[in-house]
């Protein structure tokens, strides 16, 4: 396995047309390695989320190339791209996007079910991931009955369930109070980041910068600190 998890080269993304046309991401290039917790930070509107969407195979760039584990992401066709996201990437959304009408363990089992695993087997395996995030006792509750921190952990368990090489965290502390946010990020760094996994976190919460291995600063769609980024 190569040491480089993500290689982004010259990524550019435009939105709008005519006079309203603006560049959200401009010629961004960087690399992320396995066993690295990479932060992309910057003010609102700096292009962090757009960059995150491009590298995770959700938003097609206008220019440039992204490789995840040597797979040219945007060369993949639609179904292959969906499979790529399902098998290689674990998403933890800012608002968690848990299904309130499913139990906690069923929420975690979703990626496994999408991989066409048997239902009972999926639930059984999902329970293990819930155990990893310390919520096995809450397996059969609706996510609406969990606290914000617990919901975040469920979202992490769901992301882990697909067995991803790359985990994407979008503003992981935005919906949490300061202490809970720190505990979550600490837990992620300690228990989730492995030798075969790269974690990319988009945030503008400077209270959790200490947990980053490397930080990329973005402003106006550009990386401020060049290709490599600054070591935290």
């Amino acid at each position: 396995m190569t040491d480089v998890a993500i290689r982004a080269e010259g990524l550019t993304k435009w939105f709008g047309q005519g006079e309203a046309k603006m560049c959200a991401v401009r010629e961004v290039s960087f690399e992320a390695r396995f066993h690295e917790m990479l932060y992309i930070v910057g003010p609102s509107g700096s292009g962090k989320t757009t960059l995150l969407s491009i590298i995770s195979g959700i938003l097609r760039p206008d220019e440039g190339k992204v490789s995840v584990e040597n797979t040219d992401v945007w060369a993949l066709k639609e179904n292959a791209l969906a499979d790529f996201r399902l098998n290689k990437i674990g998403f933890v959304f800012q608002d968690f996007h848990l299904f309130p009408n499913l139990t906690t363990v069923e929420n975690v089992a979703i990626p496994l079910v999408l991989k066409r695993r048997d239902w009972n087997e999926s639930i059984k395996e999902a329970s293990k991931y819930l155990d990893i995030v310390g919520l096995s006792a809450r397996a059969h509750l609706s996510p609406t009955r969990l606290s914000g921190g617990e919901q975040q952990r469920v979202a992490i368990a769901r992301a882990l369930a697909s067995g991803p090489d790359l985990m994407i965290f979008d503003e992981p502390t935005a919906s949490l109070d300061g202490d809970t946010g720190k505990k979550i990020v600490e837990f992620v760094k300690r228990d989730i980041l492995t030798d075969h996994r790269c974690i990319v976190v988009v945030t503008h919460d400077d209270r959790i910068y200490d947990y980053a291995d490397r930080i990329l600063h973005m402003e106006d769609g550009r990386l401020l600190d060049g290709k490599g980024g600054a070591d935290a």
């Binding site: 969906a82 079910v113 999408l114 695993r117």
Partner: protein, 378 residues
């Protein structure tokens, strides 16, 4: 795929408020659709009661006849001519007319009088009391024991009455598969007595009933009788003719069709709108699924499965509600004209599937358009 559908099912049924609203809309719609078409089917069955009760394979009548109660009498020579056609095993006359019974308590009650061929009594009903040969006794009548029977004050064997100022005696009590549409009792007697008791014009044969030698002979018989200027139809053909008349010439069919169409539109709009709202509320979740790696066809399958489950559940509940209400109505009105036929059920199923497909389609369009990037943007 089963696991994905299981998720879709749980997302649907665990949203109890929306699911209940969806079910209510569909149940109400299916109930109305089945109720309307069942009423029509029930009325048509009753309108064709004489045809089905008589059991003749082939019927001859004046071309202007539209239903059993509007018989136009034919001259006797037509019967002779029919009997002489190749392929006719036998042919008998049937009288069908209306009379007025004067009951012992002094009240009057309109009745349908059917006069059976004196020789064969072809088309006679099944007796539950009395002996069929007693119909030949003086003033002998057989009364049909159906929902209208009490209107004759529940007559017994030997009960006397007056029919158009002639004495009548009940000599038998019979049962028939279907009773008539207009809610009046039915009396059977012999053809000769019927034309004697009921005032009529010069011609007296309402219908000629034919037993063909075989079914292959029917077209030839129809052709020969057409040369005489009369119409020949099979039993089913006559039922279809009656149904067609009620459907297209009385306004009844159009009204019921309109009600059925309105029920369909009500179901379509309620369930379409509710399902669309349900999907809109879950749009973020569908977007998250798409981001995680669900493929377009899997989301389409989920939505159509949800629409299908809702449709079929509403269909079942609608049928149950309709059947329950018909049963309830029959407790008070035993002759309530409403029957749920396989045709009604298939029609309603077809309409429910259209409603489900439409609801699913508008929802799918929305879900397929959602960009997972919107999930990141919040």
């Amino acid at each position: 795929m089963l696991g994905i559908l299981r998720i879709a099912y749980k997302l649907l049924v665990n949203d109890k408020g929306k699911f209940a609203a969806l079910l209510m809309g569909l149940t109400f719609s299916v109930f109305l659709m089945i109720q309307m078409t069942s009423m029509f089917a029930g009325m048509m069955k009753k309108a064709s009661a004489t045809v089905t009760n008589t059991g003749a394979k082939v019927w001859v009548m004046d071309r202007a006849v539209t239903n059993v109660s509007s018989a136009i009498p034919m001259p006797d020579y037509v019967l002779d001519a029919v009997r002489s056609i190749d392929g006719v095993k036998y042919a008998v006359p049937l009288y069908s007319g209306a009379g007025l019974v004067h009951l012992a308590d002094g009240t009057y009650q309109p009745v349908t009088v059917l006069g059976l061929d004196d020789t064969s009594l072809f088309g006679r009903p099944a007796l539950i009391e009395g002996n069929i040969t007693d119909i030949f006794a003086e003033n002998g009548f057989i009364v049909v024991k159906d929902a209208e029977f009490p209107k004759l004050n529940n007559p017994k064997l030997g009960t006397e009455f007056e029919l158009n100022d002639n004495r009548g005696v009940i000599v038998g009590i019979a049962t028939v598969p279907a009773s008539g549409l207009f809610g009046i009792p039915t009396l059977y007697t012999t053809y000769s007595r019927a034309i004697q008791y009921i005032p009529s014009m010069r011609y007296t044969i309402s219908f000629i009933l034919i037993e063909p030698q075989n079914n292959a002979a029917i077209p030839h018989i129809q052709e020969e009788i057409a040369h005489l200027g009369y119409e020949t139809v099979t039993e089913q053909g006559f039922i279809d003719k009656i149904t067609s008349w009620y459907m297209f010439r009385t306004g009844m069919g159009i009204n019921l069709l309109l009600m059925t169409a309105i029920s369909f539109v009500v179901g379509l709009s309620i369930s379409g709108q509710t399902f669309y709202t349900f999907v809109l509320e879950n749009l973020g979740k569908f977007g998250a699924l798409k981001a995680i790696g669900a493929k377009g066809h899997e989301l389409v399958a989920m939505i159509f499965f949800q629409a299908g489950v809702t449709g079929l559940a509403g269909y079942g509940l609608g049928i149950g509600l309709c059947a329950g209400l018909i049963a309830l109505a029959r407790l008070r009105m035993p002759d309530y004209a409403s029957i749920v036929t396989y045709g009604n059920l298939l029609l309603a199923l077809g309409m429910v599937l259209v409603i489900s497909a439409f609801s699913g389609y508008i929802a799918v369009r929305k879900v397929l358009r959602i960009d997972p990037y919107d999930i990141f943007r919040g």
